[in-house]
Amino acid sequence: MKKLINAPDAVVRDALEGIELAYGDRLRVSYDPAYIVRADAPVEGKVGIVSGGGSGHEPMHGGFVGRGMLDAACPGEVFTSPTPDQMLEATKAVNGGAGVLHIVKNYTGDVMNFDMASDLGKAEGIEVEAVVTNDDVAVQDSLYTAGRRGVGITVIAEKISGAAAEERRPLADVADICRRVNAQGRSMGVALTPCTTPSSGEPSFELGDDEMEIGIGIHGEPGRYREPMAPAAQIVERLATAVVEDLPYDSGDQVLAFVNGMGGTPLLELFIVYRDLHRFLEERGITITRRLIGNYITSLEMAGCSITLLKLDDELTRLWDAPVDTPALRWGA
């Protein structure tokens, strides 16, 4: 394992210090418990939005803290859900009197920890709602699984909910919009290589030189299927078919297409994936009217990508276009 780190158990703390030093003009960092919060939090009368999850997915979530998106993010250890005390303190720090929305990716650990935090927050008199994202079509949402994982749609849900909160919409509305984004979004991912967490020091799985893992999550866990490597267009077809047929997305639909790199894939390749996705959707009469291409929800240095679609309507489009001013997503500001 070769990483630009000082010690495996200092990774999250050292990185938080870097974030504070870099963005101290716009963000505040608390170390114990650990969370990142907008410098101007709490914003009076605005719903506060808190997300969080294991580290190793950067820029998610810390890079999305700022005007028009998250009010706070709670980083756990690498690939480990943060703890309720972090979430509680973050919730208190962003409560401007209009309540707080927790955006939680559907993983057993995240859900349980946020649940506890939500209970604690309510016990302190704060109105808390939680939305659990679960857009990963690689996992069946059934009694026999922990349900679909929350992946790419989380980034988009955070952006769009953030815009709604910025408009001073009440908590119930902001939560509804967040749920709508989740309900209209689907994702699937592929890994060409594993990744290595600093604390384990070993690759998360072994993969042959001509194999790929289809249906991966974002924690370096093995995927649903191991298959022989294929050209980009075929991989895109494989992922996009599963995504499109699940909701389903139909001819005439307008979508936001999000091609996400897992951390170790060159942008050059993501552009190729985007091209192939565009062609795939065009053939089905689905129009991309908004897009996001880059490394936004990553698995350390894993090579691979995920494809997320969100069915758009006028309101979601408008909220997507609204100004956002965070370290990792910025426009109109």
């Binding site: 650990g109 506890m116 998360s204």
Partner: protein, 219 residues
């Protein structure tokens, strides 16, 4: 206690503390193994998470001298909740918190008291995680351990024997997770690919009970 000829009929507060310390030591010793197991069907952090949590728990115990068994177990639970994270944090945290609730104010526990505490803990785990036996989770080690403990209690076993029998049942339960297909937690994403691997949480749960057996046997 401490004298070989006598058979202890209760578990002292000091023994509970020793148990926590031994569990922490066993987790540290098995940290890499737990990581390895979790890498196969999860995200490779279970050993690191539990080790970080048990170190925090020991720190807390250092600071909080002299309390009763219930306070000690609750302190451990709180430490785990605020330092482990992931699935294991809330689950083990709840287990210890619930064990602490049933033992509030207690200075010693007999086998029944120990079994009541464990039952409250395991129920807490199930209430929080909704896992059933056969889902390939820590519950598959915890429930058999609890059942064995109840049987031992019914048969009038002393704490050392009872703990030994519940640890043996936990070990069997842990091994029984190998052929299971996971239906809860991260391993469930793998579907049939989870078969053939031992569940990391069931493994740490076995350590929880084996460390109790070793502690109570040697006191």
């Amino acid at each position: 206690m401490g004298r070989v000829t006598e058979v202890a009929t209760t578990i002292s507060h000091e023994e509970i503390l020793d148990w926590i310390r031994r569990f922490a030591a066993d987790i540290e010793a098995q940290r890499a193994e737990l990581v390895r197991l979790d890498t196969a069907i999860g995200d490779g952090d279970h050993g690191t998470n539990m080790d970080r949590g048990m170190h925090k728990a020991l720190e807390k115990l250092e600071a909080a001298e002299g309390a009763d068994i219930g306070a000690t177990l609750k302190a451990v639970g709180m430490a785990l909740i605020s330092s482990v994270g992931g699935a294991a944090g809330p689950l083990y945290g709840t287990l210890f918190l619930q064990m602490g609730s049933t033992t509030t104010g207690a200075g010693t526990l007999d086998v029944a008291g120990w079994a009541d505490a464990l039952e409250a803990g395991v129920k807490g785990v199930q209430a929080r995680g909704k896992a059933e036996p056969g889902d390939k989770t820590m519950v598959d080690a915890l429930l058999p351990a609890l059942e064995a403990l109840r049987r031992a209690q019914a048969e009038g076993a002393d704490p050392a024997q009872a703990a030994r029998r519940s640890a043996a049942a936990a070990e069997e339960g842990m091994k029984a997770t190998i052929p299971m297909e996971a239906r809860k937690g991260r391993a469930s994403y793998l579907g049939p690919r989870s078969i053939g691997h031992q569940d990391p949480g069931a493994t740490s749960a076995y350590l929880l009970l084996s460390s109790a057996a070793e502690t109570f046997a040697s006191s």
